[in-house]
Symmetry: C2
Subunit: 419 residues, 2 copies
């Protein structure tokens, strides 16, 4: 077991144990934010026929005048809305009126816009030269049968769903959603619906960590509250390992309580990879592996547990979902105020980040007691304060982790209109 | 009916008709990304009792030495893990050993850390002065009963769920998810699972728009494919108005097909607010109101329909969900290449945006035919090209709309580690 490990090292130790996820078939409209587990190929030509991209007249370009100003009159022999195939070919001296998306009739090799020509007594008058293939979207121009339309391992979004639909897929193979079992330990904990008795507190961790698991792309499986009892904890971890792909515990990981989670893990034959990291808050985090599955022990302090989750558990869950890009977005931001509470230990402070004139700016929120949730509401970033960092001044750049899914729409933007 | 309206004006016309959404009760772990429809108050003091933030000894601060170096010996009379209330008060000359989170026993008003003192033969030796209230998290310090813990109209995220749990709420009042009925018109359309016959194409719009509705926070309700028939379209719009909060149509909105959607809307007594906007692509968009509900007519061209959706329908759906912040995030980005295809009309080109050294950079994707979906896959931004804009050079700043939920994690970040 290593101890006082750096964040990056702790992560690498855990990530090495993440297995390739299993797969399942889902309807494409239920596949958003899932990861594609197959290459999807075109089964037909796209477009399936040569078509007009606009409302106009199709004809033989060889019928068009040699020079601008010369006029030709072509007889309009057919009218084709989209979806209606031509009943006859277009011969020299003829034109077919057609609508956007209509199939180009046989014989025609160019289309002119309604607005560019004159229609008169059943004829269309064209007074400029037209090259072959003008305004024709050619059959198979986008994809040929067998072309890869969308590659395996892509995160599926609306753009991807439009292409899955194009390939005729109503259902698609995706990686399974990892199940994450959450165990909250502590004899002081009561269910949140109870009024806590003397010395007791509500078990908020089950829900905050559950919500974070869901936001990370996992399915939270809520375990029971477990008293500070070695055997009960060991039993509950074993149960988690049976029903889930990852087990998270809260509590029982700090110095005074050291024995509990570590001993419970050892009693079930787990390999302890590390205990304690070198950054705050949430220092006493545990990383372990049992039956090939990862167990992460988080602090019992509500706010510290949430911060350690973002830094340690989030990338592990993202990798379990089959994603390639597993980290929170991280950007440089400029401090809104001086900050002199730098320390001899690396820290991630809760911050509120916003955009101003295209730049990220950040306020460090008042330093929260690790056990308090007050103030956590406005936090959308973790601000890295390096070890032995000198005091920071207003406008100094800092590294920040965007924890709200990197979602800029969660930030205030100073402009209220579109631009 | 207004025509050739600016994007911002079209939006304002529609947004004025968005009603305040209804409410429903959901479990807190199902409430993520929903909008809170009630103020949530503290029902108890938080913390519910004065407690120790660390492992240490609780005692009377008046027993501590006057000066550093002087020693006092206090008899250890009790041991309190978290969750176990004291059985007796602490008198002068006494101390209680306690763990993080334990309740401060009556009489004690300060806590010293294990590491700062010496424990010996059932006594603790303190050799420095300790002020009252040192290391004590006071009862009610975060919230008093009746304090607002989280305000109405907040978007619920994991942070908010931790506070809902703190308030003892397992269920919470949120705004209902708006139902959005999607009608795809066009005699050329076939269901995506079919092999299209001559002149026919797969109806990808139903799924791309459906996916966009879901990503915007709405519930897509899939309508039928409707041929280019006035009565059938009118019937389907009426059905949509009955079952949903918003109706979106695709197709039948461009010049040649003008009559269809507009006439269908007029036939059911709808008020047409505008037809055609002054930007590309998706110019022939229709905004209307019928029975107090909004109908938006989008282009039938797959890519143009998706772009108009982002610009026009997205903010409408966001407002229907009860959100205050309804627009996509918009930032300045620097062009990766020159761009000279500027025009006399305002345009939103598909782009790929990424972060480099904390700055947004953007590539404009090859100009797509509005009917083609090829290349749409890599698009995560819309790049605004203003009307009559001079040719743009590499590194020129442009306004971009971040369409992938503003999610930075959808972008490549050049660094692979955490920082």
């Amino acid at each position: 077991m290593e101890t006082n490990v750096a964040l990056e090292k702790a992560l690498n130790m855990l990530l090495a144990y993440v297995p390739k996820p299993g797969t399942e078939i889902v309807e494409i409209l239920k596949s958003q934010n899932r990861v594609l587990a197959e290459d999807v190929l075109a089964d037909i030509m796209v477009p399936p026929f040569s078509r007009s991209p606009l409302d106009g007249f199709a004809f033989r370009s060889s019928d068009s005048p040699r020079e601008k100003g010369q006029k030709v009159r072509l007889k309009i022999v057919d009218y084709l809305p989209a979806g209606v195939p031509a009943t006859r070919p277009v011969n020299s001296g003829e034109a077919v009126k057609l609508m956007t998306g209509a199939m180009i009739p046989e014989g025609a090799d160019a289309v002119v816009k309604f607005e560019d020509v004159v229609e008169e007594d059943g004829y269309v008058i064209i007074d400029f030269p037209v090259k072959p293939e003008t305004n024709i979207v050619k059959k198979g121009e986008d994809f040929l049968p067998g072309d890869v339309i969308i590659e395996k391992d892509r995160v599926i979004n609306a753009n991807a769903i439009s292409l899955l639909a194009l390939a005729g897929k109503k259902k698609v193979l995706v990686y399974k959603i990892p199940k994450v079992y959450i165990i909250c330990t502590g004899s002081e904990l009561v269910d949140i619906e109870q009024i806590p008795g003397p010395g007791k507190i509500r078990n908020t961790n089950l829900y905050s960590i559950g919500a974070l698991v869901a936001r990370s792309g996992g399915e939270p499986v809520l375990g029971r509250i477990v008293n500070d009892d070695l055997n009960l904890i060991a039993q509950e971890i074993k149960r988690g390992l049976e029903v889930a792909d990852l087990v998270l515990t809260t509590g029982g990981a700090s110095v005074g309580e050291y024995d509990l989670i570590i001993k419970a893990l050892e009693s079930i034959g787990a390999e302890i990879l590390f205990w304690k990291t070198d950054f705050k808050p949430g220092t006493p985090v545990i990383g372990a592996v049992a039956n090939g599955k990862i167990v992460i022990g988080l602090s019992g302090n509500p706010q510290a547990a949430m911060t350690s989750f973002e830094l340690i558990a989030y990338p592990v869950i993202r990798k379990l979902t089959g994603r390639q890009n597993i980290y929170h977005a991280r950007v440089k931001a400029f401090l809104d105020h001086p900050f002199d509470k730098t320390r001899g230990q690396r820290r991630f402070a809760r911050g509120y980040c916003y955009l101003k004139e295209g730049e990220f700016r950040v306020k460090i929120l008042p330093w929260l007691s690790p056990g308090s949730l007050k103030g956590v509401l406005n936090s959308n970033a973790l601000v890295e304060i390096p070890k032995n960092c000198p005091p920071l001044k207003t406008n100094d750049p800092v590294n920040i982790v965007l924890i709200e899914g990197g979602s800029l729409s969660a930030f205030d933007t100073p402009d209220s209109g579109l631009f």
